[in-house]
């Protein structure tokens, strides 16, 4: 089966539908039409650019260029994690916590998978590295953002309870322990649900793509299984890193709760 090529005209039909939705939003005064249109335009531009960049990258297979793109994607992911926080850590830590955790959740897991599971030669073959990294970054990001947001929000709301424990001589670790566990649970539940629903309720994007591109369904399923499992591990490790770093940063050397470090 050959891939049916989409023409710009085909895409404009989908775009017209989005315009229609924006019109409805305007009529119903939902107030999201601006954001909807901006986000839709962003995805059109970003994906087109990515297509162009990947085309060049695949032709050249230059490790430096591949590395640069990978780092750029990581930086953007770190920024997105920060941008989704209601209360961000101020200064270097705001971006640092997200980027470092995304590095753990996605970079290391992707490299591990390419070397041990898929065993691509060379490991930086862009046709494998970039899509896998992108999928891991995109899918672990929200879990991490949710977990970190949950931690800082609940620390803000439960300041009194945390300090009450400090006053009684509990360590910072004990005082924030419950909140940290709750934040991690909140971050992990979406991926747990996604795994449970995979193939029954939802047909995951990667498998869909491979089937459309003509892969045998069972092969596509195997790749999808690998990716889902890696996303779960990545989300878990990344969320643990983000929440641990965040909790650590909420206290100073004298184990005082320092909410002034949030903005």
């Amino acid at each position: 089966m050959d891939l049916i090529q989409l023409t710009p005209l085909d895409l404009s039909i989908a775009a017209l539908l989005v315009l229609g939705l924006a019109g409805i939003s305007w009529r119903m005064r939902l107030g999201v039409e601006r954001r909807l249109l901006i986000a839709a335009s962003r995805s059109v531009i970003q994906l087109t650019l990515l297509g162009l960049v990947l085309k060049t990258l695949f032709d050249q297979s230059n490790p430096l260029l591949i590395g640069a793109l990978a780092l750029f994607m990581l930086g953007m992911a770190g920024y997105e994690v920060m941008a989704r926080q209601e209360r961000k850590f101020s200064g270097f830590w705001g971006m640092g916590i997200g980027t470092l955790s995304m590095f753990i959740s996605s970079f290391s897991i992707t490299l591990l998978a390419l070397n041990l599971v898929v065993r691509v030669e060379p490991w930086y073959t862009p046709q494998y590295l970039i899509p896998m990294l992108g999928m891991l970054l995109g899918n672990t990001m929200s879990g991490m953002a949710i977990a970190l947001d949950n931690l800082t929000q609940s620390a803000w709301q439960q300041r009194g309870a945390i300090e009450a424990r400090l006053m009684l001589g509990h360590t910072w670790d004990q005082a924030i322990g419950d909140l940290r566990r709750r934040a991690l649970r909140a971050g992990l539940i979406p991926i747990i649900n996604a795994m449970a629903a995979a193939g029954v309720v939802s047909l995951p994007g990667m498998m869909t793509g491979q089937i459309l591109a003509g892969s045998p369904p069972l092969e596509a399923a195997k790749y999808q299984i690998m990716i889902l499992l890696l996303i779960a591990v990545g989300t878990g490790l990344g969320a643990i890193a983000a929440v641990s770093l965040g909790a650590f940063r909420l206290f100073d050397k004298r184990q005082r709760l320092r909410l002034d470090r949030l903005k």
Partner: protein, 200 residues
């Protein structure tokens, strides 16, 4: 050396303080709302950044591990906070005698925090604090939400604790009569300075 000592101790809104307190002594603090009384108590418990030094017997604030320091300098905040569902989750040990002294029984341990009145919470917060046997009590309006009978019970419980354990207390109170009742010495905070309060 004094039992409890503040040296050039600077907390937010106040001038640096030098103060020596003997074992068993109760010092009262008065002054208008927002003058920095509560912040001073928080700084002594090392919950807020500050300058200067505090010592309790041989224990030096800046050198002691914070949890150890806070177990000795026990702060009772004006509003009590609770982190779990039941009363017993917050009490390290059960002490029926102490519970009875403030009008509670063993059954109180099973009560749910969310169903307590503000007065009950305040009295239980005092029990929670005293169970840790702090060497210095930092009391921020410990009787603010209590009725007359309870005020009397709380006052005599604290006075007995100071006497028996030879601890010291800093007691913030808005009630001049209470300050005179419980205090061995008292200070008023006036424009950031501790001024001795004269009782006749």
């Amino acid at each position: 050396m004094a039992y409890f000592q503040l040296t050039r101790f600077k907390s937010r809104g106040l001038e640096p303080i030098d103060l020596s307190v003997d074992a068993g002594e109760c010092i009262t603090l008065g002054g208008p709302s927002g003058c920095g009384k509560s912040l001073l108590l928080r700084a002594i418990a090392d919950l807020d950044p500050h300058e200067g030094e505090a010592t309790i017997e041989q224990c030096i604030q800046s050198q002691a591990p914070p949890p150890k320091w806070r177990r000795q300098a026990g702060l009772l905040s004006a509003e009590s906070h609770w982190w779990a569902d039941k009363v017993y989750d917050h009490l390290p040990v059960s002490d029926p005698e102490l519970m009875a002294a403030l009008g509670f029984s063993e059954a109180t341990n099973e009560w749910e925090i969310s169903r307590l009145s503000s007065g009950e919470r305040q009295r239980l917060a005092l029990i929670r604090l005293l169970l840790g046997k702090p060497k210095l009590l930092l009391l921020d309006e410990p009787t603010a939400n209590l009725d007359q009978a309870s005020i009397g019970r709380v006052e005599s419980l604290i006075m007995a604790y100071l006497k028996n354990s030879r601890s010291a207390a800093l007691w913030v109170s808005h009630d001049p009569k209470q300050r005179e009742r419980v205090g061995d010495r008292g200070f008023q905070i006036e424009s950031g300075i501790l001024v001795p309060e004269i009782w006749i």
